[in-house]
Symmetry: C2
Subunit: 340 residues, 2 copies
Amino acid sequence: MRLILVGFGTVGRGVAESLLASEPELLVAGAEPRVVAVVDPVVGSVRHEGGLDLGTLLRLADTGKSLATYPGAETVAGLKEVLEVAGADILVELTPTDLHTGEPGLGHVRAALKAGLHVVTTNKGPITLAYHELRDTAHKAGLQLRFEGTVLSGTPVLNLYEAGLVGAGIREIRGVVNGTCNFILTEMEGGTSYAKALSKAQHLGYAEADPSGDVEGRDAAAKVLILANSILDANLKLEDVNCAGISELTAEDIQTACMAGKTWRLIARISQGENGWEAKVGPEEVNRADPEGSLTGPENLLIFDTEALGEVTITGPGAGRRATGHAVIADLLAVHRNVS
Amino acid sequence: MRLILVGFGTVGRGVAESLLASEPELLVAGAEPRVVAVVDPVVGSVRHEGGLDLGTLLRLADTGKSLATYPGAETVAGLKEVLEVAGADILVELTPTDLHTGEPGLGHVRAALKAGLHVVTTNKGPITLAYHELRDTAHKAGLQLRFEGTVLSGTPVLNLYEAGLVGAGIREIRGVVNGTCNFILTEMEGGTSYAKALSKAQHLGYAEADPSGDVEGRDAAAKVLILANSILDANLKLEDVNCAGISELTAEDIQTACMAGKTWRLIARISQGENGWEAKVGPEEVNRADPEGSLTGPENLLIFDTEALGEVTITGPGAGRRATGHAVIADLLAVHRNVS
């Protein structure tokens, strides 16, 4: 498995760390991933025929040095050149999500599939905006397109469904898929105002400087769209997802719910409507004793309501450098199993 | 996929129902399982070259008729004959668990592997007593041996690990893996005595006439052994599992825990000891707010504590005709993916 990593920021370095940490288990599984090129407009783009040492890459990037200083590696202009010369099997696309254009990830994924590479990505942009096109291109070319890291980071969701829930008859999927909102709501239950809770989330690194993607529900909307389109073969666009955030919730709303043994959560939900699967995101009052209600802080959960099993619930981290890195490990192992 | 079902009691019929219900999704996945023989010493043993109709099999068995009356099918003497003549690919072994001898399942699994068939089973006996032998035999012959249904019925656990948690670095696995005990403990929290709670569990079909396998923890011990040996490559025997049940817990124990905001659960746990992985089963006081503490009734859960993700928790049914049937569907799909 010869990999190209595109994007060597927080997620890219998390993937490199995960590859190092998981090496023994990957070897047992018969997989020997080797990073033959890294492409990043900020930290530099290099390739090495025999494979790049991940520890060296991490040391350079973490100390602010250009990857171009990697001893013995060739610098490269960009992904186009690497796809032509690196002899790679898999593109690992780790650039930041843009839900308006999908770029630069969308272009990277298209170019890789065109060049005959499998694709593993953690980038919600291309999968949200062009899933059907990319799936069909990959399918026709006999290539794998995997994106576990786009939903609940490395907590198995897409891989859980594929390995354990196909055939169980999904009736509904719902859950808490945005850790920033859940953290803010948990803080507000303790009497903190929305503004102060948001500020604390930003201080702790849970929320970005512009938090609107999280608190207005658009991040959750992208995730629920990805679940609906890939698991349930729906054909939804982002504007089809009925989406509300948590920024309108007041301290009084929180108090009133609390006195009734309830609590507010930002719930993402896919259910059968009159015209097939419908997806929505919005704040809902849930019982404290329910799985959604007892989930606090930045954790995420997803509930698959099925004919065969009733409700199956998975809970785990929704973000984090190493957690997102692990999603790529799981997808690489799946590619290895499926093509070997 | 030409299947032989061995065992057509509750579990066997649950598998037949699941095959019927999941047919559309199996077809989409490219899998066309066909039952070419059923072997059961009570309801009869038949085969049909072109495949047996599952609805007809269910009607016969559910109305107390012998499968030998199936129109146009050949009756057969037993598994040995069927393995020779049926041209099957997969043995689905669904006879009841015997943790002392493993039989009759162990003999069935050995015979099937010897005859070159993949094996899918829900029977804990063979996997508890002879996992390493069977795994090695299957491996050498290039055959699949799958047993999702032995732990938490159809709630994905072994398939979850394989698809999503390999490489995450397991630190500990713990959980509630026996629904009968959890039901009894939940009842006792409401003030019911152990004897009355057990009697209610038997009345509802959660506990057997001889409940000792459940309440003394042996059922949980077998499950934790299967997890340790198959997921963590441990080499444990049943007598290595430190095992205590719930029958010694008194109403006073329950009350005392309750006043401290705690509750008793029968916890199965695999952790690192001085000599590698250790497994144990026993009642533990847990916080009500913990996932184990908030689990009530016959539900099960398993927590994977990992380096990469922290804790990942899956909750779902631990038993049931259709739930166990679904485990076989998931394993058949995995065989299909892995061998096609």
